[in-house]
Symmetry: C2
Subunit: 263 residues, 2 copies
């Protein structure tokens, strides 16, 4: 029988817990992911946990949890049983499902040639960011850049909203404009989703390499991005606030996918 | 100075409060809407409140609230000042903004001819329903039908997610299949958004009159709808669960709008 971690002061627990802060995640290149769904998604994407924590009291009662843990133990993942209180202390969610893992911060390789990249500029809502990541994957974007001023791509809520996309789609978090510009070819045309523009989004030739920029919920894109990107509009009826950042980005990403299928 | 309602047992308060239940809303044809945003949206859509309740303690401190109330009082809307406790009792939100109104349940007239109708079949998530309503308006759908098994279109959370669309776009809530069928021409082609189908959504000729059916988050559309509607798919890469009901519906609605602009 394995030892059960009973103290929240345990070194491993403390080290894992501080990964809920953006700074530590990026400094240490490690991530704490929670829940059966997300840990399972990572595992199925061949992400090998550095440490696996579980609620010792819950394991015997939860078949799905037990089965995933057995699989991991067979492959020598270091697993740590925790008391219910320690496990609750470790995780952010209100009703933890009894499983959490520390994994290396995903840094999937970028494709050699950019065809379609999504750039989030000052998108602060984690739900919108997660939805945009899922749409980008589904529409076949190469990778997604989180520009300065956006929510952290590896924030707990973005991870949950992303439903595993973080382990399948290359993502880059940029803390500066220089870093962002270094990720895309200097001549890549950038299009900014805006409410007001003379150019409709479906008039753009998306069969050519391009970047789509989605601006923030409150004030749209920042000043730097406005200088770089061509505004494009989604023609719509009624209230111009009807489409939020996630919906607007999704519509344009799928227009790009549609055009590319017809090439 | 007006009288302040101090008791949650007040007849008006009791009558307004029970409108949080679906049954009373539809039986009485009345709706309780909360918050500056929604009450303001309704007012700007020329919806005249039957009763207007406000938090007497908040009014002098909140300029926007005070200004909307003045406008309504000038037009003889019956307004009722409530104590903070009574107001909190009346409303569902955790941090009420000090304003709530009873209005007639919107029943905007249907267009004489159907060109594009959205049907929600067993969509239970209020956020998805609100998003779909907003997309339907923005894409120019004629009206939206909430089929049996869907969340109530006038549920508090759907109202909030809809951001005022309920007062601009005709909506019909059907409690039976007979009722639903009575709302659309018998020969209207229906298309059901599905993950698996041989027909891509952009191969449909959306310039012709049509109905788009979006099924529920858990199990898709119900058995009755599956017999009536032609499944169509959104081709996508990666995880087939990437698009939720709201995103899938939004993509197809805007493909319909795109085709119609090119007519």
């Amino acid at each position: 029988m394995s030892i059960i971690i009973n103290s929240p002061q345990n070194t491993q627990i403390k080290a894992a817990r501080r990964l809920s802060q953006r700074r530590y995640r990026h400094e240490e290149g490690r991530l704490l992911i929670e829940g059966l769904r997300l840990v399972g998604d990572a595992w199925r994407s061949h992400v090998y946990p550095l440490q696996l924590f579980y609620n010792a009291e819950l394991r015997p009662q939860a078949a799905e949890l037990d089965s995933l843990l057995r699989e991991m133990e067979e492959q020598n993942v270091p697993t740590f049983a925790c008391s219910e209180a320690v496990f609750a202390h470790l995780t952010e969610t209100v009703t933890p499902q009894g499983i959490a893992a520390v994994v290396a911060l995903p840094q999937l390789p970028l494709p050699p040639k950019v065809t379609l990249v999504l750039i989030l500029d000052e998108v602060r809502d984690p739900g919108n960011a997660g939805t945009l990541l899922r749409s980008a994957e589904a529409a076949g974007a190469d990778f997604v850049i989180f520009g300065p001023g956006s929510v952290d791509a590896f924030n707990d809520k973005v991870l949950r909203a992303g439903m595993g996309v973080h382990f399948r789609l290359p993502i880059r978090v940029c803390s500066s404009w220089a870093e962002l510009k270094g990720l895309i070819p200097a001549d890549l045309p950038l299009y900014l989703a805006e409410a007001a523009s003379q150019i409709d989004y479906d008039r753009v030739d998306w069969r050519k390499a391009a970047g789509l920029v989605v601006g923030g919920e409150a004030n749209g894109a920042g000043a730097e991005m406005r200088q770089l990107a061509q505004p494009i509009a989604i023609p719509m009826q009624g209230n111009p606030e009807s489409l939020n950042a996630a919906m607007a980005g999704t519509i344009i990403l799928f227009e790009a996918a549609r055009q590319r299928r017809q090439q």
